[in-house]
């Protein structure tokens, strides 16, 4: 019996280590699921701890992964607040009744687009930042080929960009789905698909992650990468030789959102975080974290490098309609059938 005994001993030891209690705080604690980049998540949580004395446990995952997690945990939720990540999965969570309604007193300080995001979901989510869609190109590669700098969506289907454009796969990435929906809203559905079929010939790869094309353009792996512009700004600030383009026909945008999870164990602390995260001071932390989205609080400072909405022709993106699961499936199925299956 020796071997199994030892085995159980080891298991016991492991389990005991796992069960050791965390230091309890007088202000209570809070579990946050964070879906922006790590170096933005950390200072946010640290600042909230300093401001309130509430102990924060933070888990960082991409928004799709967090959504999957919240669905899987629905019976016995572990998280309290879901902060950050593109708006679509937040709206989906609201539709699926995974998040709860909360009308923050801070709503009056927010931009209209952030409040609209909240209204569309019955106040189950709220906008915390926004970022426009666009693309970035690698300057040395462009000069080497002597191609005129692109300015519009229409430029990307020109023959000189053959095999030089990279975008994410809308099946896996919210970014690429936003682009799909944006083009349909600008051009109408049939012309948009004609455009996408033409673009398909110039695409060298459909990446799985939405930010990957920005990185590929920065290193020169591709000439043009279609992404949210703030992802490209991050590359540029880090010294990559890229230029950003907000297409001349107009473009769509994402609203990064925040929701309180249904069945949150620390509801009071979750609400305090919610209110705090909407303040100008909390949103000002983004710039230090090299996140160049537009903050949703009207009084929050806008990072000087951030692509400003005034300089971009933004379309009136209908999040309720294009975030709907059925519309999404229909668009994606059509894209899969008519665009992806085509010859390059």
């Amino acid at each position: 019996m020796k071997a199994p005994r030892r085995l159980f001993g080891a298991m016991l030891a492991g389990a005991l280590a796992a069960l050791l209690p965390g230091a309890a705080s007088a202000q209570g604690q809070l579990t946050v699921y964070c879906s922006v980049q790590e170096e933005w998540c950390r200072p946010m949580m640290a600042a909230f701890e300093r401001a309130t004395g509430i102990r924060v446990s933070m888990t960082r995952r991409s928004s799709g992964e967090t959504m999957t997690q919240i669905r899987a945990e629905a019976q016995n939720p572990r998280g309290d607040v879901w902060w950050g990540g593109t708006g679509d999965p937040h709206m989906q969570a609201a539709q699926e009744n995974l998040t709860v309604e909360y009308r923050s007193p801070m709503l009056s300080q927010l931009h209209d687009w952030a409040v609209r995001q909240a209204e569309q979901t019955g106040f189950r989510t709220v906008g915390i930042y926004a970022g426009a869609l666009g693309y970035s190109y690698n300057v040395p590669e462009l000069n080497r080929r002597r191609i005129a700098a692109p300015r519009c969506w229409a430029d990307l289907i020109k023959p000189e960009f053959r095999g030089e454009v990279q975008m994410a796969d809308p099946n896996t990435s919210g970014t690429a789905y936003t682009m799909l929906a944006t083009l349909v809203q600008i051009m109408g559905e049939d012309p948009a698909f004609t455009y996408l079929r033409a673009l398909h010939r110039n695409i060298n790869q459909y990446t799985r992650s939405g930010a990957a094309p920005a990185r590929a353009a920065a290193t020169g792996e591709t000439l043009v990468g279609i992404t949210f512009l703030h992802d490209a700004v991050t590359q540029k600030v880090n010294g990559a030789p890229v230029e950003l383009v907000a297409p001349c026909e107009g473009t769509g945008y994402e609203i990064g959102s925040m929701s309180i999870i249904r069945g949150a164990r620390n509801m009071e602390q979750a609400r305090r975080f919610y209110d705090w995260a909407l303040t100008a001071e909390a949103q000002a932390l983004a710039e230090q974290a090299k996140a160049y989205q537009l903050p949703s609080n009207r009084n929050a400072p806008i990072p000087p490098q951030a692509p400003r909405f005034e300089n971009i022709r933004l379309i009136d993106y209908d999040f309720a309609r294009w975030g709907n699961a059925e519309t999404r499936t229909a668009l994606l199925t059509r894209w899969e059938r008519e665009v992806r299956a085509g010859a390059r």
Partner: protein, 732 residues
């Protein structure tokens, strides 16, 4: 061990269990102070208080078993009934009455409206272990397992564990394949399984991509073949080729094994991407046009072979060393030429190891997630497709489950083929008989061929690892900014001195958890794996094949599916584990178990059963034989299992991405976040640290456990310049 003594031990265990808190302590040990009341109440207190009246049968069944045992009898039927009854009752009631009270409404007439029942805790664990013991004692008393209660307990216990942590979670999630939303729809399953996204053959005729099943099969077959071949060449040169660079060899081949995911893929991009170092060099000097060939099948294949070839080498190296030279010597004495000896003696004896290496390569390629994710380009395989079916923009668990079933089918197809190829022939070469001789040297042509493969591959590996080593210490290797910096390491592993070391770096938490979890999981995996291998290979009992199948199951399932199924299965009572380190440990143990089992079975296939029989003839029980005969001979397999499970626990990604929590984050999940944000340099720097740790541990394990010592007569030929080793002590 007799049935009675096992039954007594089991009762002791149950008595302990009745003293410990019955339910799990959510608030940690601070709640334990409430004992024997409150949240920490043991079962008797709960029963007497009336709060858990539906658990009275547990106590009744225990008493039923205790009465005869205390009088020194072990009635098979009673013990079996009591053990099985307790197990079934506790779990059924745990499922029926959950956190919200009654979960199964159709039981309302019987149970009324019971209060909520939280998850099982330490007391329950001990009682359940005891129940398994009583059950095993019972069936052993009735004559099963040749009346050996120890074997019975091992089999019953491992079957129970496998059922709980492999089978049950998987059925939970795989049933999603047959549901369309909430609707039960078998026709949907058929449509999903036959979907053109999986089976389309369009790529043969048109520009469209082929179905994802074909892609996966093609990639896995290529990876398995190439990595087995390269591993074989390495092993031949190392064992029979008289190459003096053996330590370098080992180090070089161990490196890919201990590499975290994504790093090799990233290094390959840095080298061969369109703006990669090698690509730019070829373009500048030889005008070879730059292309993106690395994104797609070639890139993924390259990365997978880099990772798999060393595993092939480890397996084949062990097998080659264990082949008794006497057969080869006999062949040589009869005048066979070197190549004939190799073809007719060595090669056939290598077959089980070759099959094992091929199978492992195949299955690992099927399960690989990191490389296709980074390098796949438009080339889609099942593992990534499944991940994005679950976590992508279009959430479709039904489709994911159907694809997972296809992946499962592929894996078991591979196992079936292996069984078919090996047939029923015997491959025993380590026997108790006087066993000695000189291993045949390698045929010349073969040696030349092997060298032509091995040395360039070594250079290639060195190049890739050179990039990884450098990448963590320069500003941005992806963009060619090669100025030296400590920046990335400081960000990750800063230590501040404030009257004592304070760990400020962003990566410390995840690193410490990772090492802890891996260190706990590895010995459990190796121990359980080797035990199971011994049971499957050496004990004859009904359901043996089923047990083997269950151990292989978790390997065959893509990590994402395992991860999500664990969250779904262990987030609510009766077993509530999410957010703890225990769920990570369990996940690793049962996911890496197949490696220990397969390695153990392969090792046992070469150890003659007559040794066991000799031990049994001289009066040793199963336990003694295991401890004193089998285990010492299985050292190589144990080392491999230990090292492998440690390393795999440190580098797993897709399975744990949904299991990590704020308190227990893992290094790989942290790295994934960095890669997503495009911070390759930091990811590479962190990976370098992981590599150093794993290298130290793997070498340490080898030092402590020791290398295989199967006695052979020392060689005197020039080809084998090894110093004289111990005299013949085969089978000792």
């Amino acid at each position: 061990m007799g049935a009675l003594s096992l039954a007594r031990l089991a009762l002791l265990c149950a008595a302990l269990g009745l003293l410990l808190p019955w339910h799990g302590l959510e608030g940690g040990l601070s709640e334990a102070t409430a004992w024997p009341g409150g949240a920490a109440a043991p079962l008797p207190a709960l029963l007497l208080g009336g709060a858990r009246w539906w658990l009275w049968p547990v106590l009744a069944l225990l008493a039923l078993a205790a009465l005869p045992v205390l009088r020194g009898r072990a009635p098979g039927g009673t013990l079996t009934l009591a053990g099985a009854g307790i197990l079934a009752w506790v779990f059924l009631m745990g499922e029926a009455i959950g956190l919200r009270g009654l979960e199964w409404p159709w039981l309302a007439p019987l149970l009324g409206a019971p209060p909520p029942q939280p998850a099982l805790g330490w007391g329950a664990l001990f009682v359940l272990v005891a129940a398994a013991g009583l059950f095993s004692a019972g069936i052993a008393a009735r004559g099963a397992f040749r009346a050996d209660a120890f074997i019975a307990f091992l089999v019953a216990g491992s079957a129970l564990l496998l059922f709980l942590f492999v089978f049950a979670p998987l059925t939970t999630i795989l049933t999603a394949a047959i549901y369309d939303g909430e609707r039960f729809a078998p026709d949907v399953l058929a449509a999903r399984l036959a979907a053109p996204e999986a089976w389309s053959l369009a790529c043969l005729a048109t520009h469209e991509g082929c179905g994802v099943v074909w892609n996966t099969l093609l990639l896995a077959t290529l990876t398995a073949t190439l990595s087995t071949a390269i591993g074989l060449f390495f092993a031949l040169l190392a064992v029979r080729g008289g190459v003096r660079a053996a330590p370098v060899f080992r180090a070089m081949t161990i490196l890919p094994l201990i590499t975290p995911p994504f790093v090799v893929a990233m290094a390959l991009i840095v080298l061969f991407g369109r703006t990669g170092i090698v690509t730019t060099f070829l373009w500048d000097w030889f005008d070879i046009p730059r292309s993106r060939w690395i994104y797609g099948l070639p890139g993924v294949l390259l990365a997978q072979v880099l990772a798999q070839a060393p595993i092939g080498f480890l397996l084949l190296d062990g097998a080659l060393r264990a082949i008794s030279p006497s057969l080869e010597e006999a062949s040589a004495t009869m005048g066979a030429r070197r190549f004939t000896i190799f073809r007719t003696v060595t090669w056939p004896l290598l077959k089980p190891a070759l099959a094992a290496a091929f199978l492992l390569g195949f299955v690992e390629s099927l399960a690989d997630f990191g490389n296709p994710l980074v390098l796949g380009g438009d080339f889609d395989v099942l593992s990534t497709r499944i991940f994005f079916a679950i976590a992508g923009a279009r959430h479709d668990p039904g489709r994911a489950a159907a694809l997972a079933l296809l992946l499962l089918a592929l894996t078991f197809g591979a196992f079936a083929l292996q069984a078919l190829w090996l047939g029923r022939r015997r491959y025993t070469t380590v026997t108790g008989k006087g066993d000695s001789g000189l291993p045949a040297p390698l045929p010349r042509g073969l040696k030349l061929g092997a060298s032509l493969v091995v040395w360039p591959w070594m250079v290639f590996t060195a190049l890739v690892y050179g990039i990884i080593l450098v990448g963590g210490f320069v500003h941005d290797i992806g963009r060619g900014d090669m100025s030296f910096t400590w920046r990335h390491l400081v960000t990750a592993f800063e230590v501040e001195w404030q009257g004592g070391p304070a760990l400020r770096g962003a990566a410390w938490d995840s690193l410490i958890t990772t090492v802890e979890v891996a260190a706990i999981a590895a010995p459990i995996t190796a121990g359980l794996g080797v035990l199971l291998a011994w049971l499957i290979a050496r004990q004859d009992f009904r359901g043996r094949r089923l047990l083997e199948f269950m151990t292989m199951l978790s390997f065959a399932i893509p990590g994402t599916v395992v991860g999500v199924s664990y969250v779904m299965a262990f987030n609510v009572p009766p077993i509530e584990l999410t957010g703890t380190a225990l769920i990570l440990i369990l996940c690793f143990v049962f996911r890496n178990l197949p490696v220990g089992v397969r390695g153990g079975i392969a090792a046992l296939a070469q150890i003659d059963k007559s040794l066991d029989e000799a031990s049994a003839t001289m009066g040793a029980g199963a336990l003694d034989t295991l401890r004193r005969v089998v285990l010492p001979l299985m050292r190589p397999a144990i080392i491999t299992a230990l090292a492998f499970s440690f390393v795999h626990a440190m580098t797993a990604v897709s399975a744990v991405i949904f299991l990590v929590s704020a308190r227990h984050n893992l290094a790989t999940v942290y790295i994934v976040g960095r890669v997503e944000a495009g911070e390759m340099a930091l990811a590479i720097a962190y990976s370098t640290v992981l590599i150093v740790i794993m290298l130290a541990v793997v070498l340490g394990i080898e030092k402590v456990v020791g290398r295989a010592q199967i006695g052979r007569r020392a060689g005197t030929s020039a080809a084998r310049a090894a110093p004289a080793t111990a005299p013949v002590r085969a089978g000792a």
